[in-house]
Symmetry: C2
Subunit: 339 residues, 2 copies
């Protein structure tokens, strides 16, 4: 299927179909210079599949992991484009997870003040969440996504085949963001997760989640208001992620935990816990709450008086609540009451 | 006077008046964290004037010159904002010439994906040209402005008092951009330069030039088409600038020379030469044409088949012309026929 994300002059299509990566052209003009950015974790067969479609393709393979979201990696991509004489009319393709999309998108946004960027996400996390919405970013001074730009892609291709070799833990990790979309916007996603044969409904889950996200982005492109609902689960989730350090939990796993702190309906919390267990996502974090709180006060969403958090009070319905740091601290220390 | 630059949600006022820097508030909200970015060449009295108006002001003083338009200077500004816990609601003020405005504007555009930026230009060059239009940039791998963003300021203050201590050579340097605006858009500027007492008309010249620039920017914010007329004089000008190296001519001086190559009317060329001589701007460059041509082919405006250049055929009227590299080379080597 094709869904246009409507953002005026910055509108772009989402192509959601198996095998979409096999025929990028004519949906994308590949008859120009193309920088294909990927990482060592992406199967070589996918790389080759994409590169073979480019007339003048140039490949940059980065190390896996958050460390590649850095100024130096961004400089490396810009230097490569400069060396290959990329002009404003050329293209950056991101093939990988959120790290690659965020980094390549940011480089595309600043090279010559912005060139075309197309996103080919290869993880559940990036297909559901980061590939749509135009947020690009790098990390800096230990703070996640603190430097970046809003730079909408020209197109995004969600190809279920690209997920084939994703390890189980990473596959499930991304589904936490779909669960989040279910909780804030689309209860049908919860119902799909609750089916015995939920695995055979994963494409439907991903599709529903990304379409719900597109709706949110269209209504508030640069996160002035309602788009902040997407931060549901992320306030404490980011704190857990930062406190855990490099060898801690994955992003989706932290979001899964983060959701639980702000579910204000006991029945919904039980349903959510049952889904987390069924998926094999964690329901308890082994991190020092003091560290979690310290990390989240460094988060960019707060100001002097407190933090705006998203709470869910019934399936598919959220509200914003301003919380003082004391209240938030109390909530972090109370932890999640897992029955 | 106040002129709104109309760019939809990104509209902002230009305040053009003597003493404007003395009362920034309430035109700008200074009741928040403010990073004042300036350089060693800006008089301390100006710095103090601005800083004293900020409740929570933080000062970054950079070395003078193009070397400050770098990734590392940008990282320095972002790190300072992070250390001082700047949020999305805080402000970057640029006090200086084009280097400071371009750098501080770029840092403001990427910190947290964009925070407020107000420009206080203190040179004729930045008042006339770089402070209006939202182009921000740094240099990279020896190429000028190759990395950057479109990030409109929230306000620009053009205060003639801020020019008081500008050395004569720099004062005149910036007027080359006003001469450019006269040639492409507003012949009245040429008439003002031709008055015996042109120096007493400098504020009027600056005002007319910046208003003409605002018109162009409004019509084509991100340089898809007509805005390219502002590149008049810059194609070969940039080449001369790059070929001259660090101790060569100033930017405006190079633009002044660059104009002469693309004036296609002999009478207008004579008038322009007379104005350059009156201002004390150069009419002849002492640089190797081979180096100039090599440098300009590295310029980001070209593609494989040639370069689009701006020519002026009568006062206040320009046209675009596609030129092959061979034609351009011939023009560089022919030089300017100065009577």
């Amino acid at each position: 299927m094709e869904r246009i994300v409507s953002l005026g002059a910055r509108s772009y299509p989402l192509y959601i179909e198996r095998g979409a990566l096999r025929c990028l052209s004519p949906r994308v003009n590949l008859a120009r210079k193309v920088l294909l950015v990927t990482d060592e974790g992406v199967p070589e067969s996918l790389r080759t599949l994409v590169l073979s479609q480019c007339g003048q393709g140039f490949l940059e393979v980065l190390p896996m992991g958050e460390d590649s979201k850095s100024f130096s990696a961004c400089e490396r991509l810009c230097a490569r484009m400069l060396r290959e004489n990329f002009t404003r009319k050329d293209l950056v393709l991101a093939l990988g997870g959120g790290v690659i999309g965020d980094l390549a998108g940011f480089a595309a946004s600043i090279y010559m003040r912005g060139i075309d960027f197309v996103n080919l996400p290869t993880t559940t996390l990036s297909q559901i969440d980061s590939s749509v919405g135009g947020k690009t970013a790098i990390n800096f001074c230990g703070v996640k996504n603190i430097v970046g730009a809003f730079h909408q892609p020209r197109a995004v291709f969600l190809d279920a085949d690209a997920l084939a070799s994703l390890p189980e833990r990473h596959f499930v990790n991304g589904l936490a963001e779909a669960l989040k979309m279910g909780l804030i916007c689309d209860p049908e996603i919860l119902a799909l997760f609750e089916k015995e044969d939920w695995r055979s409904h994963v494409e439907e889950i991903i599709t529903r989640a990304v379409l719900a996200k597109a709706d949110v982005v269209e209504a508030d492109e640069t996160e002035q208001g309602e788009r902040k609902c997407l931060n549901f689960g992320h306030t404490i989730g980011h704190g857990i992620e930062a406190a855990g350090g490099l060898h801690g939990l994955l992003h989706g796993e932290c979001v899964a935990l983060g959701l639980l702190y702000f579910l204000e309906d006991e029945a919904l919390k039980s349903r959510t816990l049952a889904i987390l267990r069924r998926l094999g996502l964690p329901t308890r974090a082994d991190v020092d709450p003091e560290k979690v709180f310290a990390a989240l006060t460094h988060d960019k969403k707060g100001d002097a008086t407190g933090v705006s958090v998203v709470v869910v009070d019934r399936p598919g319905h959220y509200l914003f609540r301003k919380m003082t740091y004391d209240e938030l601290r109390a909530r972090v220390f109370a932890g999640v009451d897992v029955p």
